[in-house]
């Protein structure tokens, strides 16, 4: 027993030595801060973007020597649990990243209304601000940080090799995928194991078939339901895509569907602007473009699915309200928006900020798509996430059932309607 303990001690010794050294290093870094600096805690779910955010906040700290920003990223899956527990326990951060639309509502009691406290916030587009507005009181609680746009990525080299080009409408799209398939190329990289990606796929292609904003207005007003034949038609078209997905697509998770695309094993990827930088980073040689999800021939223009990703808000109970407001003010500035867009390759909602076309060319393409074609809300997130079970959860799970072949498009529509109806008041009349 003693010998074993000695072995273990020797194995673990370096851990303590290293740890000691690093903790000291950390303290030295902290010591350089102004003695009387106010510390602002910022929480976010973007574990991917820690370095970039720290860089943004360094810029802020340079101009605000009395403020020290502490950034903490918590895994996406657990972020809400951690944030809610901390807020309820009166230990919330000063500034926090907030989910958009329905996901924001549960937190409004803990948040400072900042609509009239942050300069320039009123210049944001209405659709951006809607994502950060309290449903009951109409107050704006956050500074939106990113917009997302849906579309179809394609591999230009593969297209060229097989003599195909961007499709103008749905039948050309199907034709093009048939051609690729005949040439032993997997047309779509997407799979079905990550349920939320199915909602993304539907968000890209669905609106063209259910009639975009008209249907959105009708269904949110309760004038029609999800069993509407237009919505069923959209589900049916989504169902058609399964034969162009990789073999065993129901077992393909998010990481592998992305890999399918950037390792050039599939020609197209139905996704959103949030993947643009990632693809480029993973394979810089990849020559990719993006086109709007194709509309049926009878429709003049395709709809582009969009939504606001979330916002940054201020804790109502913060001891440093003034400094926290200065920080979100900074996050509403063009300076921040430009840094944000260029280093994270996301679309900034801040008026006047545009993506540099040389940095991530596809991102600029996404932006110009929204200028060229009509946009439509990403339906379940924007309209039906106010209560459980959310429209998203209902749609995602039943889409899995449909792609598996267990549910028909009609059954998916009924399932979604049934679940949303259980809490959505306009449906209950």
């Amino acid at each position: 027993m003693k010998k074993t303990m000695t072995v273990l001690a020797i194995l673990l010794l370096p851990a303590f030595v290293f740890a000691g050294g690093q903790e000291e290093a950390g303290d030295e870094g902290g010591g350089q801060q102004e003695a009387d600096a106010v510390t602002i805690d910022v929480w976010s779910w973007r574990t991917e973007d820690v370095e970039e955010y720290e860089m943004f906040f360094d810029t802020f700290e340079e101009n605000h020597p009395n403020i020290n920003v502490e950034f903490r990223a918590v895994k996406n899956d657990e972020y809400n649990t951690v944030l809610a527990t901390a807020l309820e326990g009166d230990q919330g951060p000063d500034v926090m990243q907030l989910r958009a639309y329905g996901g924001l509502q549960r937190y409004t009691d803990f948040l400072l209304p900042i609509g009239d406290k942050v300069e320039g916030l009123s210049d944001f587009s209405d659709s951006s601000l809607a994502s950060a507005t309290g449903r009951e009181d109409g107050n704006v609680y956050g500074v939106p940080f990113a917009n997302q746009v849906l579309g179809v990525y394609y591999n230009k080299d593969i297209f060229e090799e097989h003599g195909v080009s961007e499709p103008d409408n749905w039948s050309e799209f199907i034709e093009l995928m048939d051609t690729l398939e005949e040439n032993d190329v997997t047309p779509l990289a997407n799979g079905g194991q990550a349920a939320w990606m199915l909602e993304i796929m539907f968000g890209a292609i669905g609106p063209n078939f259910y009639g975009g904003n008209d249907f959105y207005e009708e269904v949110t007003d309760g004038d029609t339901t999800f069993t509407d034949e237009r919505f069923v038609e959209a589900l049916d078209r989504m169902n058609d895509l399964s034969e162009y997905m990789p073999s065993g697509y129901m077992g393909i998770d998010y990481a592998t569907m992305q890999a399918n695309f950037f390792t050039e094993q599939a020609a197209m990827f139905i996704g959103g602007s949030f993947e643009a930088a990632f693809f480029q980073e993973q394979n810089p040689d990849l020559d990719i473009g993006v086109f709007p999800a194709p509309a049926p021939e009878e429709l003049d223009e395709p709809y582009i699915g969009t939504w606001a990703d979330g916002s940054y808000g201020v804790n109502a109970e913060t001891e440093h309200q003034e400094e926290a407001l200065q920080l979100v003010q900074f996050m509403a500035s063009q300076e921040f928006g430009t840094m944000f867009t260029n280093s994270l390759s996301q679309i900034s909602p801040i008026p006047g900020v545009e993506a540099d076309p040389n940095e991530v060319p596809v991102l600029a393409q996404f932006t110009s798509m929204t200028a060229e074609y009509p946009t439509t809300p990403y339906i379940m997130l924007v309209g039906f996430r106010w209560d459980q079970p959310t429209g998203s959860v209902a749609l995602q799970n039943s889409l899995q059932g449909m792609l598996q072949g267990d549910l028909t498009p009609e059954e998916v529509a009924e399932e979604v309607q049934g679940q949303v109806e259980s809490w959505y008041e306009p449906f209950q009349d």
Binding site: R106, Q193, M250, P389, V393
Partner: protein, 313 residues
């Protein structure tokens, strides 16, 4: 009376010594487990608007979960059916496999020590590792498992084990067996080792061998171990969460085909990514889990206690 005399009195009084032994642990346990858990159980008696407690509604949340036509009730019974299936599967497969492994190790063949240590190894692995590893092993095109099937059979074979609702849950349960079977094996082995030599010799003389020996001698004599295995399996089964969470996500996908009470509880109490938690319903499901574990454990204990064979008496 001086200090050392006082100590002497405590140290020689059985009652006082008992108190000194038991008190620290009891205080920590009551303060950090029983109090917080039961105070959060009270959430189940209220309706909640997000994080705000609204009105006292008695047992309305239980009614919603058990008998309402709300979606949560459908999902709840779906999860219960999966826990029931898992219980039958795990008790059947894992306990049997554990028993067979125990019997094989009981032979005491050379090299047994190595195998004995090995069977428990998967238990020590983190679920993050198990989840990531098996997700890849089961990948339709890249995974080792489909790869082996392609080697010996259809060269085009690629099956989404975790993506097909028909196979996903059973696949997860098999991984669960992979992870845990060594534990009952060691418990059974300890029971087999404790069977007195004389009993085994007598059986041999009477010509009781093979399957008969297993059924008549081994099984009745390891009932206490079986009881332990069953209780650990039942309570473990109802707490089943992390293996589903890491292999199939918080909604127990695809299409709820792997959803169990543990994942449903977590999602309902905390809301997952959308953050739309319902603390009342979440706590209600938590209580159901505890009550079911306790009741099932009690039933198993009662049922097996009568079958216990004692050699001492």
């Amino acid at each position: 009376m001086n200090l050392s005399q006082g100590w002497e009195r405590i140290a020689t009084s059985r009652r006082l010594a008992f108190t000194v032994f038991i008190l620290p642990g009891t205080i920590v346990f009551l303060g950090l487990v029983i109090y917080p858990v039961f105070s959060s159980f009270s959430y189940s008696l209220y309706s909640w608007d997000g994080l705000q407690r609204e009105a006292f509604i008695g047992f309305e949340n239980f009614r919603t979960i058990f008998v309402s036509d709300k979606p949560i009730s459908t999902v709840f019974w779906n999860a219960v059916s999966h826990n029931a299936y898992a219980l039958i599967f795990v008790v059947g497969v894992q306990t049997t496999l554990g028993f067979v492994l125990g019997l094989m190790l009981f032979q005491g063949l050379p090299g047994t020590k190595f195998f004995r240590a090995l069977v428990f190894l998967p238990v020590t692995l983190s679920i993050v590792v198990v989840g990531f590893l098996f997700n890849l092993l089961l990948h339709p095109t890249w995974g080792a498992i489909n790869h082996f099937i392609r080697l010996f059979g259809d060269p085009e074979f690629s099956f989404p084990w975790l993506g097909d609702p028909a196979t996903a849950f059973t696949t997860i349960l098999i991984i669960n067996v992979w992870r845990w079977a060594g534990f009952p094996a060691l418990i059974f082995l300890s029971g087999l080792n404790n069977i007195p030599r004389s009993v085994l010799d007598a059986a041999e003389l009477d010509g009781v061998t093979g399957p008969q020996r297993v059924a008549w001698i081994y099984l009745p004599l390891i009932v206490p171990q079986l009881l332990t295995v069953l209780i650990l399996t039942i309570t473990g089964n109802l707490r089943m969460f992390d293996i589903v969470y890491s292999l199939a996500g918080p909604t127990g996908g695809p299409n709820y085909s792997t959803d169990v009470l543990g994942t449903l509880f977590y999602r309902t109490a905390f809301g997952g990514i959308t953050g739309l938690a319902d603390k009342g319903l979440g706590a209600t499901i938590g209580i159901v889990i505890v009550v079911m574990s306790a009741v099932l454990s009690l039933i198993v204990t009662r049922a097996l206690q009568n079958k216990r064979v004692t050699l001492e008496g």
